[in-house]
């Protein structure tokens, strides 16, 4: 009788387990991200997940200018559209505090996922909240930073090399400092190349979302801009508007004035790509995420394109991009979403992710001695990720970003006031926001 009961129990358990497996197999989970080149690579990569688990993947990709609006609206309304979200790094504070993202610590521990397998800067930037703690709300999914592309073929022309050397006493080469970068940009501005007038640089100037902030901070960080007093959080006076920060902002404006294409007053990712691909500019500041696509471009890719890390000035610093992947707490398919995270954290999957054009943050990829040789921009990416700095990741990040967008655009593009006034005003705006949040 006991044997009979045991057999029945076994049969029931088998039925149940195979039933749940069948249930998982029939399921579809939705991953939400921005619509850009790496998203296409992820679609390709995720086919392996479906093949392995039987869980189908659906993707909801929103163009960058609308990505934050659309997805934060989704999260705030506790929508169930997304099971997985590759959300921007700045969202982590709000999404953790408002419980939009599932806390992953227990899951990592249970599944043996070692967060230490990922680059510490990326873990800090994409996964943790509050900063400096071990509370993980995301797995680093896509490392990214602001970098530069240049027209290698133009730089290689003997006549241009000679002229530049005569003028500046050095080779026409990827700049190491912002001062050098401006010299190069000035050199190309208005020059005729192959019968076409070209310009110095395409740099972010966009007003509507985050463009000018991401671009200007790429100059501000190397000049010495800091968000707050390291000894006293949220104390910004003398850091945000330090003499170095003012100098950095003035420099960015001078670069915009001297060396951008005419009318380049509202340009960001796509406009930068268009300007570079159409052969309008010698230099372009954009996210590393676009570099694999640019390298493959039939007109300006291959031998014609070169890459370099954000130049230093008084110090080194690159603007952080990139995102972590999180499980949405309102999802009804959390188990399947978590299984995707588990699969994605695997070193072999991460290697394939990099091979397909995604920027892995896994040490197995980045720590490979041959990594720097895997792509012409790999070494620069590695270097950039070593000195990245991110915008505020506070729950009020959007308000803080709006204030910076307005202050910078007013000063750089609309010629309103001075750099000091812009940054003093920014300190006032930010202080007000933090005061409302009870944080200073």
């Amino acid at each position: 009788m006991k044997k009979l009961i045991a057999a029945a129990g076994l049969a029931a358990a088998t039925m149940l387990s195979s039933g749940s497996a069948a249930l998982a197999q029939g399921k579809t989970i939705t991953l939400c991200w921005a619509a850009w080149d790496p998203a296409n690579a992820l679609v390709e990569l995720s086919k392996d997940f479906t093949a392995k688990t039987g869980i189908n993947m659906k993707f909801e990709f929103v163009p960058w200018p609308n990505f934050a609006d659309r997805m934060l609206n989704e999260l705030n309304s506790k929508g169930r559209l997304c099971d997985l979200m590759i959300g921007d790094s700045q969202w982590i504070g709000g999404s953790a505090e408002n419980k939009h993202y599932v806390k992953l610590n227990d899951f990592f521990a249970k599944e043996g996922i070692k967060i230490g397998d990922f680059l510490p800067t990326t873990v800090d930037a994409y996964s943790t909240w509050p900063k400096g703690t071990n509370n993980y709300y995301a797995l680093p999914a896509m490392g990214d930073a602001m970098g530069w592309t240049y027209r290698k073929d133009w730089f290689a022309r003997p006549a241009l090399q000679a002229e530049f050397r005569q003028k500046h006493g050095r080779d026409l080469a990827p700049p190491k400092t912002w001062t050098e970068l401006k010299q190069v940009a000035e050199f190309f501005q208005g020059r005729e190349i192959d019968g076409k007038k070209v310009f110095g640089a395409a740099i972010p100037t966009e007003r509507g979302s985050e463009g000018i902030t991401m671009g200007a901070t790429a100059a501000l960080y190397p000049f010495g801009f800091r968000y707050e007093n390291p000894q006293r959080p949220y104390q910004m006076q003398g850091f945000v508007n330090s003499a170095d920060a003012i100098e950095g902002l003035e420099f960015y404006k001078s670069l915009f004035k001297c060396c951008t294409p005419p009318g380049y007053t509202n340009g960001y990712m796509q406009e930068g790509l268009d300007a570079f691909k159409s052969g309008q500019v010698a230099l372009q500041m954009n996210w590393f995420a676009f570099f694999p696509g640019l390298f493959k471009d039939p007109n300006v890719g291959g031998d014609k394109i070169g890459f370099f890390v954000n130049p230093s000035q008084k110090t080194e610093g690159s603007t952080l991009g990139g995102q972590g992947i999180s499980v949405i707490s309102y999802s009804q398919n959390q188990a399947e979403a978590l299984s995707y995270i588990k699969w994605f954290a695997d070193a072999e999957v991460q290697k394939k992710w990099w091979a397909l054009g995604g920027y892995s943050c896994h040490r197995a990829v980045l720590g490979d001695p041959n990594f720097a040789k895997t792509a012409p921009f790999a070494a620069d990416f590695l270097k950039a990720m070593g000195n990245v700095r991110d915008f505020w990741q506070e729950p009020s990040y959007a308000q803080l970003l709006q204030a910076m967008q307005r202050r910078l655009h007013d000063y750089v593009i609309a010629d309103k006031g001075t750099a000091k006034e812009a940054l003093d005003g920014l300190v006032q705006d930010w202080t007000k926001v933090f005061k409302e949040d009870g944080k200073n």
């Binding site: 705030n76 506790k78 007003r207 009318g263 308000q399 593009i413 609309a414």
Partner: protein
Amino acid sequence: MNARSDSEGPARNVANMTPDRVARTVRGLSDKAIAWLFIGPTMLLLLAINLFPLIWTIQLSFTNYRANRPNAPILNIGLDHYRAILTDPDIWLRMQATAHFVFWTIALQTIIGFALAYLVDRKFRGHGFWTTLILVPMMLSPAVVGNFWTFLYQPQIGLFNYIVGFFANVPPGSFKMLGDVTLSPWAIIIVDTWMWTPYVMLICLAGLRSIPDYIYEAAEVDRASNWRQFISITLPMCMPFIMLAVLFRGIENFKMFDMVNLLTSGGPGSTTELASITLKRAAFEAWRTGYSSAFAIILFVAVFGLANIYVKTLNKVKAR
């Protein structure tokens, strides 16, 4: 007789089929009650989708509520948001930018729209074709218009810059319609005027066609000149229509968002940041729900108040 019995037949059948209890209930209702029964569902729907959100918005405007902080306590802060908005110099700059946009778009659209209507009202060869062609811009989506005017204004390849440069004898790349603080407010006015003048033209055309011919015939008998006829007959009789067009365009442009957002995103700096763009940023980017509710109420009261004054004036003009 036959017809009457035919129509009464089905009605009587339906009446006979009505259950006694229902019939007794309905029989007891007054005409007014039956009327309410019919319009009740519609009224309820309108209350649900119009009045309820309005009341809720008013209520939220007195709180510190943020839609992205569901766990934060909601505190009543009285008139703080209203005080903050009305004393914020930046908000007044946005209101000035909005007033500039509304005033000039209405002025240009009314003048050009009426002139076009006056021309189109005359029968000429290809009249239908030209009328249709003029109407095309207003049939386009503001998103499409915003995008293609961005190209037209492009300093290097834009057709607009090329044409202006050609006639003004200046290089096309020497001016930036969307990137210049002085030019960008006019850039958005030009696009809105291009898009919506046909709408004003249509309304004015309806006004012109409503003037009976005999009035002009009587004026001609009195040897009134064309100019006199225009001043004394055409313009006054068209005035209610023109004013109606001004009202519609005024309300629409006061809340203009999509086209300007696509063209300039409010830039350069905040030069073309109209009130609705500020409102959208506060509500759906910064998630300051209470604050943006107060701002929405202020804008609503402003538009509603101005529109009411205007409608009263319009009624007086019509009465004349």
